[in-house]
Symmetry: C2
Subunit: 567 residues, 2 copies
């Protein structure tokens, strides 16, 4: 598959083949593995300083994308939730620039297709390797666009995102190589000569893939689609969220460098930045050149894409109502501290943060005796209070509110019911302008149908509902109803009863959702590990795909067969 490709490409394959093989092994075994260290210190003595300096050098400047056709206009749309000045300008992709860009992107496709799955995978791994070298720089870029605290931006925006990208490359490679490049076909014809044919099978990308980035996890949610599309032979047009351009703009620039060095067209990857309100995603999404779409964001636009971008294979991660069923526990404190952490991490601004805690009105059994509904809610509030009691520690866990809408939603929450835990303002000494708030917990009566309008809507941000239910039985019915009508990225449950556990599992099988049972230690329901955990199920309304499985990559390419009579 590498005919016509020079030595550089062969060297890239040599360099990365072992990592690819190890990743292929990991997705098959689903055991723990990562080639990307989590600890900031693992990146060398100078890395922290250099990464910060690189980030600071970008601020207040024009972010050039050498050689990409652009409009000549520039836009600066990012606002750091930590209050520092960003003022980074990107080439604005207006209608005319896009008209010029798409044919140029398509022009690079034949050579990229011809390179074959192995070379494409190796080029993707080289892009990831160069991103990895600049993890500190990316960490600052993610922190100051998403509002994540530094360590989280480092880990989730760096190694964890890189893992998810590598995982997608591994799936893409495996899926494309299930069919051999050639086959000889010989069909017996009784006493006559057999029919003989030579067949060639070529995985071909669909064309240009559009990545529509999100504000909160630009790399973690962006890399899987980006690398899955590129590895399957597509060009990728990256349309970042106007408030989180930098992490993906860096990605685009690195990808273009690697592609060009390897002898491919840099324009196989391009950036389409816009001013807030330009709406270029909608403009692009129904163009015939756009054949694959990856989207993370609100449900309304996700559903619009699914209904309208019919010339493309559309992958969406939208909104859901994540649910925790609390039936009983053998480790009450462990449960409370685990939940407190989950609600607090990044101010509940993860698509995986629990929203509804379903608690029987009659209370639950624990190893230290029965606890009433009110006690459970109060104890959870206390656990959150304790976790976030110290401002410095709280700020490091909470990060900052990503935008005004989240703050408004948080401030409106007390109107939704009785406040069990009030939100408080946290002072971040390093970034005094950051908007930092602790989560609010609101009590809701889950047995009253008219309160469904409250807890059955996604309330993105640090707002959770302690939903009183008549019984665990009713909790399961509410869970089923939630999954069916709203979907969920995560379901979590606490129970000491194997029978209850098994019934919760059945609900999650019936209306597919990923389930974590009795988490009490250092693993949280909002976190998943690449190569092992699935992110979303793709089987309920929260998302139409899962990260990452065969289905996430299989629609991004087609296998074209060319058959002829054997000589």
């Amino acid at each position: 598959m590498t005919t016509g490709i020079g030595t550089t490409t062969a060297q890239i394959v040599d360099k990365h083949r072992a990592t690819l093989d190890r990743a292929l092994e990991a997705i098959r075994s689903r055991e723990f593995w990562t080639p990307h260290p989590e600890h900031p210190k693992a990146y060398g003595e100078e890395a922290a300083k250099e990464g910060k300096a690189a980030f600071d050098a970008l601020r207040g400047s024009r972010f050039e994308i050498p050689d990409q056709p652009v409009s000549g206009e520039w836009v600066a749309t990012e606002v750091s939730p930590y209050g520092i000045e960003m003022d980074i300008s990107y080439p604005r992709a207006d209608e005319g620039a896009l008209d010029a860009l798409l044919p140029v992107m398509r022009a690079g496709l034949p050579a990229w297709r011809k390179a074959g799955p192995e070379v494409r995978a190796a080029v993707c791994l080289e892009i990831l390797a160069r991103i990895s070298e600049r993890t500190h720089e990316f960490a600052h870029a993610v922190m100051h666009t998403s509002g994540q605290a530094f360590l989280m931006a480092f880990q989730a925006g760096g190694p964890h995102a890189q893992d998810r990208g590598l995982e997608a490359v591994a799936y893409a490679y495996e899926e494309q190589t299930r069919t051999p490049g050639r086959a000889h076909w010989e069909k017996p014809q009784g006493k006559r000569e057999p029919l003989r044919m030579e067949k060639e099978f070529t995985p071909v990308g669909r064309g240009i893939a559009l990545l529509i980035g999100c504000n909160t996890f630009p790399t973690w949610n962006g890399f899987p689609g980006f690398f899955a599309s590129l590895a399957t032979g597509n060009a990728v047009l990256v349309k970042p969220h106007p408030r989180a351009v930098l992490p993906l703009a860096l990605t685009v620039r690195i990808a273009r460098e690697v592609l060009a060095e390897a002898g491919f067209a840099a324009d196989l990857v391009a950036l389409a930045a816009e001013a807030e309100g330009d709406g270029i995603a909608k403009n692009l999404a129904t163009r015939s050149d756009i054949r694959v779409i990856d989207y993370t964001g609100g449900s309304a636009f996700g559903e619009w894409l699914e209904a309208n971008a019919r010339q493309a294979r559309v992958h969406t991660e939208k909104a859901g109502v994540n649910t925790v069923v609390i039936d009983s526990t053998g480790d009450y404190k462990g449960m409370l501290s685990n939940l407190a952490f989950s609600l607090s991490l990044y101010s509940g601004q993860m698509c995986t943060t629990p929203q509804n805690l379903l608690i029987p009105a009659a209370g639950i059994d624990t190893e230290t005796g029965h606890k009433s509904y009110d006690e459970v809610v109060a104890d959870l509030g206390a656990a959150v209070g304790k976790l976030l009691g110290d401002d410095a520690r709280a700020a490091a866990l909470l990060g900052a509110l990503v935008n005004e809408q989240v703050r408004q939603r948080l401030e409106a929450a007390p109107k939704l019911g009785e406040v069990a835990l009030a939100s408080r303002t946290v002072h971040n000494p390093e970034f005094p302008d950051a908007t930092v708030r602790t989560p609010v917990i609101v009590k809701v009566d889950g047995t009253k149908q008219d309160e469904e309008a409250v807890h059955l809507e996604e309330c993105f941000g640090p707002v959770s509902f302690a939903v009183a239910v008549g019984s665990t039985e009713e909790a399961l019915e509410l869970l089923r109803h939630t999954l069916l009508t709203k979907g969920a990225m995560t379901v979590s449950a606490y129970t000491t009863s194997p029978e209850v556990a098994s019934r919760i599992e059945e609900v999650c099988f019936d209306e597919p959702a990923q389930l974590s049972l009795n988490l009490t230690g250092g693993v949280y329901v909002n976190q998943t590990a690449a190569f092992s955990d699935y992110h979303g199920s793709g089987g309920n309304p929260a998302a139409n795909c899962a990260l990452c499985d065969g289905d996430f990559v299989s629609g991004r390419f087609r296998v074209v067969e060319v058959r002829r009579m054997a000589g």
Copy 2:
């Protein structure tokens, strides 16, 4: 995965495991293989007589589906294109019957899920084995609903359809078993104890799959979706075309018998027959219980399904404009006789039959010298005429026109341009009431934009257009335009120039389509072999999926992970 399943299921696995393994090998190597003999005599001395008798016994009777919830009303909608009396009544699935049926179908899902991929595959193979034993009966059922001639109905409706079903089971099994059932995950934490988790991964079907059958190839086009959905843990509701119910009704009854014998709910498979015009497919397609749809038929309803059945994963095979590029040939006679056969087989009523033959107006080079456009068209007409000169032989190749619409379209064809080969009526001595017609070839000027309305619409049936193009270059542009705007199930080309061949390949890579090059022997562009050839690409407007690849099965199930802390 087989806990709780009795010995019967284990026996079914024992019986079929070797066949499954051989099928898995075949889809990986894509070499020739089939366990289903093509020759009618291979099914035993008495099989022909018994199969005919079984079919005749069904005529004029009620087709009972024991134990399936039904409305009490009956419908008889089939009309044999050969003119024999059918009068087979099926339980009519009205709104009330469907309302009652769907919950009953869902009730069987948990046990079917729990059985796991291997047991499900084995049960599917047992269903196929029982269908295979009754191939002669199916042949008559397909013949008298589709209008295919007996031998074709036997082969395409029998062994070839069974091959496609088995292929889908193999893909489904492979896809579901890529993830292990369990994994132990252990993440190092420096000097602290590692984080340890136990994870279980369960492939779960999405719910109820709806199969919307077609008139012309009820089993061949129906089996892939039917078995892919069943093997991935779904229930399957079969909604046959009102004119081709019997082949799928037999399939449903056999499937229900096998499921019940193996200890599963018979209602995992059910029949929804309707009177013409009832429109129950539309009613069913947007119900929340329907999570997978397979459809073969016209583009309008296919596109409606894609846009509206958003709660389901929709697989469509619609209409396309199949194209042959004729640039040059080293075997003029071989080309003509191969094309003549392709145009005649089943009166051009295959979704794979070539419609447009693109021929340079200046003619083509052949091994016997240059041939003008008019000569090529005349010689092709003569080849068709010779092939179909004898009525008995013609009838055995042409079959019968499936319905009035096809006859009307054929009769209207002479208005579309200059007739190069007129259609003639063929007398079928065995079935004098059959409507049998030879194909018409109409000349069209491909350089005139206003004639595009003629040849760029699918004209289903025995109508082909000899499209004069300015050059091979223009033929490639027209091919590209056709693939982009209309799609094609098949592309075929004749050329002696490796450079031209390679440019045609590039077009088929750019706008994914399956390509046959220089077919001159006993392999025809309209035929594909399971385990080796893809049917459609899924990458152009003719179909959104290919038979069969990983993508055809991967959306029919989700993998649900249940994770908990390791003890």
